[in-house]
Amino acid sequence: MNAVTQPINPAKLVARQQLALQDPDWVRWTLIAIAIGFISLFICLPLGLVIFQAFSKGVAAYWSALSQDDTIAAINLTLLTALVTVPLNTVFGVTAAWAITRFDFKGKSLLTTLIDLPFSVSPVISGFIFVLLFGAEGWFGEWLIVHDIKIIFAVPGIILATLFITFPFVARQLIPLMQEMGNQEEEAALSLGASGWQTFWAVTIPNIKWALLYGVLLCNARAMGEFGAVSVVSGHIRGLTNTLPLHVEVNYNDYDVVGAFASASILAGLAIVTLILKTALEWKQGNR
């Protein structure tokens, strides 16, 4: 051999680079197996069990459990709660994200922290806050009784508690995105003569719409599934103030296993639909 270095085969170089980036097969397959095993054990198995229990006494029993008055009332209340809280929190979330990413003002970091508060406080505590405020022995209790306004142990209390719990979802999705985007595009639009409103609809919304929809989906999922805070303010009146998650508990404690799992299957179904929509959104976002 002479001193001249032998030219390296380019194909080999690529292979070596790939090797450096990839772990051996057994590592890869072990990791994949662990991930799949974990998901099947902790997500698919319980979900399957819910469906299995719901149909354990046949389709007829499942259907009759779902068509009970109390179950229908629980479904209605859950839908009503989501229909009120999700649009409100969408508006609040966009407003908050806009304020935080587009303006400079004192107390901005405090506001950002406050938005996260519902995430960091236990839902039960969130419920108690409303009892302390609006309960008959609470701060506004006297006034509410005198004016015959019912908040706690009625639909308004349930909506308020859900509103509080689901507040961060939309804002949390939007803030990082809008911070990253900066405001050059909006400034350009404004300098070209667009009004603030036009800029918002024509420039901002198209940029944030996927993140916004994603936030709305998460917000909706939590609004329908919230248990702790709603449990505290509900009063558990059957057919009146039980949302679906509370109804599941009532049925379970009534020894009505099919009823409990039938209601749970609806919640699980909602979760699955949400997941599919979320995946579709992510796919669409990735292919943009």
Binding site: L83, P87, D148, G235, H236, I237, D254
Partner: protein, 336 residues
């Protein structure tokens, strides 16, 4: 497009509100009750509605709310608009007078038998074959026995459980209070789970299969046997227990506001009728009507029953045992 979206949501909200209000024409009563009465009132409510319809021609719908007795009393105090309360013990009902004057002071004299249409007692539920050979209270405080009972702070049944054990300990220790306290301490040291209500404890014991013995309402134990089969569980009746008198009351302040005083009073009075007492017996409560009680007596085991009067009434018992820093707090808590 955005506008359409909001119109649709608005319409949907209105539609749901309309559906919810469509049957608001009839009389509505809210019965706020404790945990194990779920099946009792589920059977009683339609019977009463039929009786009231025949008597007055009016439709009445009774809504139910169930949870631990202490928790339910709190909810009513915090604004849950109960027309009637049917709770586990007198102290919880009395709070409605003490704290907010929602009921008259003499509420317990307004209906027969101290306002208790049914009584019950406290027994044990064990797994089939009674593997630990539990016969009486002294068997369940032995080391290694795992007990399921609700939390006396929130559950009425749990307070009856506690006092029954206390009464037994006093009797077997020549009324020595220090010995009784030690006995109760051992009992709660054996407690595996303290649920907030009696029904939570029952599902813990039966469906989650935790514990060797469930201290339970007699009616709750017999109901569990009927629901889940006598091939899985056994009821052990101790030599001595407590006469539990769950009282009922019209929450006059709220019922007056709702205009339901008359129907609410009749709702409770009808519990004392032969028909009401039959339903009570069928659901394993002890009827107070002597004739119906005799008819259902054979479904229960005989035992010695101590009355709450032996503790100086509920006020004294509550103060001594279950108030903050009371005996229960002294024997049960972090690091004890």
């Amino acid at each position: 497009m955005k506008n359409n979206f909001f119109t649709i949501i608005f319409a949907a909200v209105l539609a749901i509100l309309a559906v919810n209000n469509s049957h608001a024409a009839d009389i509505k009563l809210l019965n706020v009750s404790y945990d194990p009465t779920r099946e009792l009132y589920k059977e009683y409510n339609p019977v009463f509605a039929k009786y009231w319809k025949a008597k007055t021609g009016d439709d009445v719908t009774i809504n139910q709310s169930h949870a631990g007795s202490g928790k339910q009393a709190r909810s009513v105090l915090e604004g849950l608009e109960a027309d009637v309360v049917t709770l586990a013990l007198g102290y919880d009902v009395d709070q409605l007078y003490q704290k907010r004057k929602l009921i008259p002071e003499n509420w317990q004299t307004l209906l027969p038998n101290n306002s208790s249409p049914y009584t019950s007692t406290i027994v044990f539920l064990v797994r089939k074959g009674n593997p630990l050979a539990i016969k009486d209270w002294n068997d369940i405080v032995k080391p290694g026995v795992s007990i399921v009972t609700p939390n006396p702070k929130t559950s009425g049944g749990a307070r009856w459980n506690y006092l029954a054990a206390w009464a037994y300990a006093l009797k077997t220790n020549n009324n020595d209070e220090a010995a009784a306290k030690e006995f109760i301490g051992k009992l709660f040291k054996n407690a595996a789970v303290l649920d907030t209500g009696a029904r939570g404890s029952t599902t813990t014991f039966i469906e989650r299969e935790i514990g060797d013995v469930l201290i339970a309402w007699e009616n709750e134990a017999y109901l569990a046997l009927r629901e889940f089969g006598a091939d899985k569980f056994e009821i052990i009746t101790p030599s001595l227990s407590i006469l539990a008198e769950p009282p009922v009351a019209v929450v006059e302040d709220i019922a007056r506001k709702h205009g339901t005083v008359e129907v609410a009073t009749e709702y409770l009075k009808y519990l004392y009728s032969k028909e009401g007492q039959e339903i009570i017996g069928k659901n394993f409560y002890r009827p107070t009507d002597p004739e119906i009680a005799a008819k259902y007596a054979k479904q229960f085991q005989p035992l010695q029953l101590v009355k709450i009067d032996a503790f100086g009434g509920w006020d004294a018992a509550q103060k001594k045992h279950f108030s903050d820093d009371g005996v229960f707090d002294q024997i049960y808590g972090p690091g004890k």
